[in-house]
């Protein structure tokens, strides 16, 4: 060894004594981060991230404008106290046959099709991002009746987040160096139009945290995931404006925005803080809604209508608490489309399943089931978004239209 090599060994060895030690709840923090990821807002910048990821559930939170649920309004149709002994729910094809569809995993040209949303009960819209060098990324629709794909637009830059739909338009965001650009096309297809752009990564930072976006009231509205604030720009284009009084608020489900945000929450194991989204603001009317929590309570995460822990759910006003028929550890304790959770269920015989649970009716349906034998294949990766759950099955993909669950 040379002197330099000796010095390196010595430097590393001494540095090891300065390395951080794991805090007592380190594993729990990993768990929470895992869970947040599963329900979390897509990894925004790099498609490369998928290279190392394996298994389980991927979440992308896309805000949807359909049927905004009123806050703090107890739902009277809910079944009481689900059983603590869990069985895997019956298959979704039996429970909600009109909500589940199997479509090709890719376009006829071989590009994978990422389904983002149901434009209506019979039309799926999504993105084809990868393919050979000759294949451009694009937005496509799939007609469930004819079984045909139709191109809606060709993209010059791949979108970094899922599409959103509303008011007859589709919108998505891209990141161009440090600038976030928002693009739209008519829902029936057309040439992409950049309607606004703004700084997404300030100087001195090297990370884009993404935005939560929706279309409503003739505008595209979004919140930067890190700093919050509800910004708007008309669908016709223009400069972003901050909706007055929405500082620090994060869009949850139009027209509701709230704080604390999900990502820096009491979930992360710090001292007891308020549940994520404990405080909501109706961006349209200025109405406020605060979730009711008991003193010292931890682990709740709130949506517009419900608050959820890993095993329990109740209304925002604290009423109607019930046990969940399974654990929300798969999808994270946040209701999708305001009322659906993905539960992990395990039956007495060892059978396992990932099931969709409807908080508003208490019904559950197994999306995937896996027999009890050891060495059986793992549950597939399930993609979660408001409005749409999906997973790949061979050269097909199974889509669940949450909007069609009655």
């Amino acid at each position: 060894m040379t002197d330099l090599e000796d010095a390196l060994t010595r430097t590393f060895t001494r540095a090891a004594t300065r390395a951080p030690a794991a805090p007592p709840d380190f594993v729990r923090q990993v768990d929470m981060r895992y869970v947040r990821r599963r329900r979390g807002r897509s990894v925004a910048v790099a498609a490369a991230v998928t290279a190392v990821v394996a298994g389980s559930v991927l979440g992308t939170r896309v805000l949807s404008t359909t049927s905004p649920a009123p806050a703090v309004k107890p739902d009277t149709t809910v079944s009481q106290a689900a059983p603590a002994v869990v069985e895997v729910a019956p298959p979704i094809e039996r429970v909600w046959p009109r909500a589940v569809h199997e479509i090709p995993a890719g376009l006829p040209n071989g590009q994978a099709f990422n389904a983002d949303l149901f434009l209506d009960d019979r039309t799926v819209v999504g993105r084809a991002l990868r393919g050979g060098p000759a294949l451009k990324p694009g937005i496509w629709s799939y007609d469930l009746d004819s079984g045909k794909f139709t191109s809606l637009a060709t993209l010059t830059a791949p979108s970094v987040a899922s599409l959103v739909a509303g008011d007859g338009f589709l919108a998505w965001s891209t990141l161009n160096k440090r600038t976030v650009e928002i693009w739209t096309i008519p829902a029936k297809g057309g040439t992409p139009r950049k309607i606004t752009s703004f700084l997404g990564v300030s100087s001195g930072e090297d990370t884009y945290h993404g935005i939560d976006m929706t279309i409503a009231d003739g505008k595209v509205a979004w919140s930067p995931a890190k700093d919050g604030g509800v910004y708007q720009v008309p669908l016709s284009g223009g400069e972003p404006t901050l909706v007055p009084g929405t500082e620090r608020h994060h869009l949850l489900r139009w027209p509701w925005a709230g704080y604390p945000t999900h990502d820096v929450s009491g979930l992360s194991g710090g001292p007891a803080k308020e549940p994520p989204m404990a405080h909501l603001l109706n961006v349209r009317t200025g109405e406020r809604s605060d979730a009711v929590t008991g003193p010292g309570e931890k682990g709740w995460t709130c949506g517009v209508t419900w608050c959820v822990t890993f095993q329990k759910a109740r209304h925002r006003d604290g009423t109607g608490e019930r046990n969940l028929p399974g654990s929300v550890s798969l999808g994270g304790p946040v209701p999708y489309s305001g009322r659906f959770l993905l539960l992990y269920q395990q039956g007495k015989s060892g059978e396992r399943g990932a099931s969709i649970y409807d908080l508003s009716t208490g019904r559950a349906a197994a999306l995937v089931r896996s027999p009890a034998r050891k060495g059986d294949t793992a549950l597939p990766t399930i993609h979660l978004r408001d409005g749409l759950f999906s997973y790949k099955r061979g050269n097909k993909q199974v889509l669940v239209n949450l909007g069609a669950v009655k």
Binding site: T9, T13, T17, P20, R33, R37, T207, H209
Partner: protein
């Protein structure tokens, strides 16, 4: 079966060692903690598959290394729930000796892959074949990256020695 190793046990047992390794790669405690958490999140996602192959340690170290080199800078950084202090190396009076501090600082100026090669070779004491496998590169590339890194450190060391005689470092 209940006798299968649990992810929680593995993560709890290995957290400190993994943090040390990540700290060598990143040079700062925040990135190290973030990196280890991220790698463990991914390990958790594929735990049943990885532990069947009986080698979660090597899986997670490879993940840490490749994440750091290939992906980390492009990834959205999540909120880190705890603020990891850099521990003062009180047990070693020479821990912050000037020459080591200089070398530690120079390491931070190396490209990530070059630094990783040095960490694997001089801290982990891995063979070039092992390093090649962990990084997913050829042994020839391992050797060229190592010699380039050492060359940079050597020239930096001579600069430092010169300027140390002046006023500012």
């Amino acid at each position: 079966m209940d006798d299968e190793p649990r992810f929680e046990d593995f993560a709890g047992d290995r957290a400190d060692a993994l943090l040390r390794y990540a700290y060598m790669l990143t040079g700062n405690p925040h990135d190290a903690a973030d990196l280890v958490q991220e790698a463990l999140v991914r390990l958790r996602g594929s735990w049943s598959r990885v532990q069947r192959k009986r080698d979660p340690e090597s899986y997670v170290r490879t993940t840490i290394t490749r994440l750091h080199i290939n992906i980390w800078r492009r990834r959205r950084r999540e909120h880190l729930a705890w603020d990891p202090p850099e521990r003062p190396g009180d047990d070693d009076p020479f821990a912050r000796a000037d020459d080591d501090a200089d070398l530690w600082e120079q390491l931070s100026k190396l490209p990530r892959r070059q630094r990783a090669v040095l960490v694997l070779r001089y801290y982990e004491e891995r063979t070039d074949a092992e390093i090649a496998e962990i990084l997913g590169i050829s042994q020839g590339t391992v050797r060229s990256q190592a010699s380039r890194a050492l060359e940079k450190l050597r020239s930096a060391a001579s600069t430092i020695t010169l300027s140390a005689n002046g006023s500012a470092r």
